[in-house]
């Protein structure tokens, strides 16, 4: 694809108008929406609406707000996760939700004590299972056996963007008598996810990446319907009580996924999640995924054309259906590349140690010319480092 072809692809992109919902800084090519998505007009409107309600209705606004964690969860589940209603709540952080979900899963397999986790997991996922499991086994589904209570995997690897076969892995876990907990942080809003169809048990993820809900916006948690009323989670709080305002001394968990709520949920953040999901829903996850594949294919094509002699190596799967919406380039000075891209080219990416330059291509607002120009900037930086 030439730059003219990239321009042409933008001109005919049926998602092109979604970029108008974002006021991105002029002259910046933003390739870190997989870390922190930018604010959309709809999200800022939602935040303003909550502020107006707070100011005008004061505490009485809680009559409406109290349902938001479940409502935003249902919307997110239906729009992006392939989850029917009453299985998702928006609350707490991914860390906290991982803790609750992993503990809940272990409680369902009291006769087993091993948690299986892949070697490439996000650090927090590893820390949480190390904290909760009798024994942590690091490996793939080949390491499943009758001792494994729970398998914890990422739907899209935070470094390589490798996309897991969620249906296959979940099925393998179930065949071994284990439960499956998925971290969807780098997947939701980027690739289609079908939690119900794939019979996933638990899933968690953050909302500040492709869902664009803002820094530290609340996370989500999915619990398969069949498990909800037999499962318990370890952090009992008043929002998870069956009769919250009765102020009972005894904790009686709410029916369904509501028992996974804990303390008072962050309301502006929850509203921002709902707004972010609505915008993704208008675009449609299948169209977003299709554009994501073409964007990342173009990035690889340009990387192959420009970068091999400069010490870069594509560290993401080459087949588009096996990737999320970001791309990893390995380079021994990934941190210096990342800094120079921002400083000299206004291309914002990020890096993950020891040697991964990470480029996010959020299909809601990333243009084909952005990919073209960013890869040219990487070539320029690479030449500077090679010659310097």
């Amino acid at each position: 694809m030439s730059r003219a072809a990239a321009e042409a692809a933008d001109a005919t992109d049926e998602l092109r108008s979604f970029r108008d919902q974002f006021e991105l800084p002029a002259g910046v090519i933003y390739l870190d929406g997989n870390s922190l998505g930018p604010p959309s007009a709809g999200t800022l409107d939602a935040l303003r609406e909550i502020q107006d309600e707070w100011a005008s209705s004061l505490v009485t606004a809680w009559d409406r707000w109290v349902a938001l964690p479940a409502e935003a969860g249902d919307l997110l589940g239906e729009t992006l996760l392939g989850a029917a209603a009453d299985q998702v709540v928006v609350a707490d952080s991914t860390t906290i939700n991982l803790y609750k979900a992993a503990a809940a899963a272990l409680g369902l397999r009291p006769e087993r004590s091993v948690v299986l986790i892949e070697a490439e997991s996000f650090p927090t996922d590893r820390y949480i299972v190390e904290q909760l499991a009798g024994e942590v086994r690091v490996g793939s589904i080949d390491a499943l056996d009758e001792d494994v209570a729970l398998a914890v995997f990422s739907a899209v690897d935070y470094r390589s963007a490798a996309r897991a076969d969620m249906e296959l892995i979940t099925g393998a876990a179930h065949a071994a008598g284990a439960l499956a907990l998925w971290d969807l942080s780098h997947a939701a809003g980027a690739v289609p996810v079908h939690l119900d169809e794939w019979e996933v048990d638990f899933a968690v993820g953050c909302t500040y990446k492709y869902i664009n809900a803002g820094p530290g916006s609340p996370a989500y948690l999915y619990v398969r319907r069949e498990l909800q009323d037999v499962v318990s989670q370890p952090i009992p709080g008043w929002f998870g009580h069956v009769d919250q305002f009765a102020m009972e001394d005894e904790y009686r968990p709410a029916p369904g996924v509501g028992r996974f709520l804990t303390g008072t949920p962050n309301i502006p953040g929850t509203a921002a999640v709902a707004a972010g999901v609505r915008l993704l829903g208008e675009a449609g996850i299948d169209r977003l995924h299709q554009k994501s594949k073409v964007l990342t294919d173009l990035a690889i094509e340009r990387a192959d054309a420009l970068l091999p002699s400069l010490g870069f190596e594509v560290a993401s799967p080459r087949h588009a259906s096996r990737r999320g919406s970001h791309l990893a380039l390995r380079h021994p000075r990934a941190d210096a590349v990342c800094d120079a891209l921002a400083r000299d080219h206004r291309v914002i990416a990020d890096q993950r140690p020891p040697d991964i330059l990470r480029l996010g291509f959020a299909p809601l607002y990333t243009r084909f010319v952005d990919v073209w120009d960013a890869m040219g900037a990487i070539e320029s930086v690479g030449r500077g480092l090679a010659g310097g």
Copy 2:
């Protein structure tokens, strides 16, 4: 005090200009700031600033944001809690912080398994200790003995507003070899708290009441300096890691109170906490407390004058220094009184089962005439119920 005297008290109130920082709905007397404080101009500015940073700096704003939980914690500690720097973080919810702090405390007393909690505790506090303790003992400091690992008390009772003698209780816990964990939710911003001086071990609290940081704004957690490096908490996340962006497989807790951070903190909420604390700091907690005592004294004076024959009973301590900044009135139909106050008099209070009408008098914005008029409204509602 006559209504004219109440007007005069407002005219000479040296805190009267702070009300101008709040755009309260016209015609409403808001007496539920002890549940959800209203937005101040400074808080809305702080939220706007975060939104602007998010839009303009995108992910690079994290360079500044990453320090906010500690910075807001230091400010809160110094301004309202009597805590020197590096002992408070703003993060998660009160429920989550209670869980972390109680588990951390129990880890410091492995040879003991009893947690002592007062009968009047907020429900979540009870649920958390029931979850974590080997045995829960409900009672006062008279029930301390060599089996008690931890005493969990509220600085100000959420129903009665009774103020605990934190120094006495903490000292008694220590004398018995136990640790002390305080819930400051109804105290911070209402009464002076001196955590360092009183040698408190752990404290938690919310920020959406007197600190006015908005619905579901993040909570805080205090850990006494001497305990910080020997204590561990049960929810390891990347924000509590000593080298967060090294992405290590092994969890190595950050030094100090930073190890009590977990997942990605909510940044708008954290900025709102700092803004709320700054405003309270400008007023000064001693002046706020002084005004609070006079406001609640006036409310009791009017209750005594107007309400005894209508089935109301003052259920808060009568001595001002033994109260927080709200007042509890017992009435067999507290819920109906609360509804009628809002509907017929635009006085917003709340009620707690079975029979408590709760009136909050936040000294930043509550006027003496508000107290006078609200008590008149309660009399009117009480007459209606009595005669109806």
